[in-house]
Amino acid sequence: MRKIHILLISLFLAFSFSVLNSDIAYAGTSPDPSGTTTGNATDISAAKAGEPTLSEVAEQVGHNKVAINMVWVLIAGFLVMFMQAGFAMVEGGLTRAKNISHTMAMNFLIYPLGMIGFFICGFAFMFGGVGPLATLGGFTGLDQEFTIQLFGHTFGLIGTKGFFLSGTYDVAVFSLFLFQMVFMDTTATIPTGSMAERWKYSSFFIYGLAVGTIIYPIYGNWVWGGGWLSQLGNNFGLGNGQVDFAGSSVVHLTGGVLALVGAKMLGPRIGKFNKNGSANAIPGHNIPMAVIGTFILAFGWFGFNAGSTLAGGDFRIAVVAVNTMIASATGALATVLYMWLFRTKKPDPSMMLNGMLAGLVAITAPCAFVTVQSAALIGLISGVLVVEAVFFIEKYLKIDDPVGAIAVHGVNGAWGIIALGLFADGTYGAGLNGVVTPVTGLFYGNPGQLWAQLIGIAANIIYVGAIGYAVFKLIDMVVGNRVPAKAEMEGLDIPEMGVEGYSGIKLDKGSETPLSR
């Protein structure tokens, strides 16, 4: 027999032996294929292993309760981080091929830029005074908020603790930081859609730092950081103060207002509008990319909305997730049917994507507080609203928004806040913002909530509009906002970024710009 035969026979015998003797018990534990003996009293940290005292069991239970919440917050945060890829795909697909390297680079770099801004001071401004982190172990160190006294009440304006995350080296704070940072980056990436295809990369870069440091966090503090908008209930009896469960106003309306101000200041793309004011279509170059991006966003939104309980042990997450899902579906369906039957008589693919996103944006504020039937209705209304908003912004405001960011995030963000004030059904949210009663809307007998919501929208538009305008104006004076016309015609990839996104593919770059008549 040759050596190879001996080797093969030995291997076969060894394998058979191990298979036939697979129930060999190793010292201490036997294998557990069905899980019935894994995890028992010996896993509880105890002075005497296997015999924990009641207080040791209590310790473990408390630890596990926080553990479920912390793991949930972090996993949801990871899902929301993945939405950055979704935004990149949607914006890349709905803009032209000659600009793809620039569009993608904006959506990529906004993630680290915003994060660094948030790390430096954004988180401190927003959450420096938020108070105890109840679901994550109760750390009370975020306790410094700058306030003023107005009308006999305390108005929280800005947090002042946690710059560079120093003085807050705590696991609960770090979980919160990650979760809140990915929300901030969702806001930050919204204007890159409305300002795409003619925004100077250097201007975008400075904006990226500004949004994470000052624009987003200050309004965020007012609503989520314990600031004055959240205390409208405590101070003035307006419901539970402004309530925004996952960020229709903090994230989406802020992003939408910035998108509006920025797109207006940049001006429309060359070839978009004719002299008589009518608009030319500039179709996106990759519908498949946009569809995949929308699904990635819809997936990540489960983390966005359901994660905002900040507690895996809060079973309302089931209701939140289903409300989110239903609104996304009715939003998309309402848009496609509205376009198909009433408007352009075609089931426009790019509009149906905007429809799903509009439903998701609109349900983001009320998702924890409404019945599923209300959620379906909110999504349905947002589906029609987004179509009319896109047309209004293009035809009447004459603002060029390549991806519909203003209509999806701005208009529907405001609708989501209003919807909460109308549809909140009083089955959840008792104790929110220091108000004993659960969150209840106009249709369930509480008009005060709607007032708080409207004040919140007004505060957002005024604050974000003003600071956004100031920031863009300043950047314009320093580096200029818009690319030169020659670069825009040629495509931004080479003049701005130095490399083509689709290197080697021949693009007919001239024909991608319509003739302005």
Partner: protein
């Protein structure tokens, strides 16, 4: 020698190529081309609320250089196989050719255009 420039529908190209092969025309070039013409469809594009016409027509152009004796049968074959009856079937142009060289053999004229069967 004559050059035939035929602009036909891209969807008809495979049929035309096989028909030409059957009559002995096996060497030519083709390229994808866009044009403007009567087949521009009105208002068939719709994007985010803006309705507009298709702006160009995609076609395929064949460039066939043939000897005078083969001209009629080639043109007749093209006319027959590229036909659909719908607007936008295409065009055939015939131009005179002064010299036709085969680079490998350095032969000029009718001899360079002979197919393998006739050698």
């Amino acid at each position: 020698m004559k050059k035939i420039e035929a602009i036909i529908r891209s969807s008809k190209f495979d049929e035309v190529q096989e028909a030409l092969h059957e009559i002995g025309i096996t060497f030519f070039s083709y390229y994808d081309v866009v044009g403007v013409g009567n087949e521009i469809k009105k208002a068939d594009h719709s994007y985010r609320g803006t309705v507009y016409d298709s702006s160009y027509i995609p076609r395929r152009a064949l460039t066939i250089v043939v000897r005078d004796i083969n001209l009629r049968k080639t043109v007749d074959c093209l006319l027959a196989t590229a036909y659909t009856g719908e607007t936008g079937d295409g065009r055939i142009f015939v131009l005179p050719v002064e010299e036709a060289w085969k680079i490998r053999t350095k032969v000029n004229g009718d001899d360079s255009l002979k197919g393998e069967a006739e050698k």
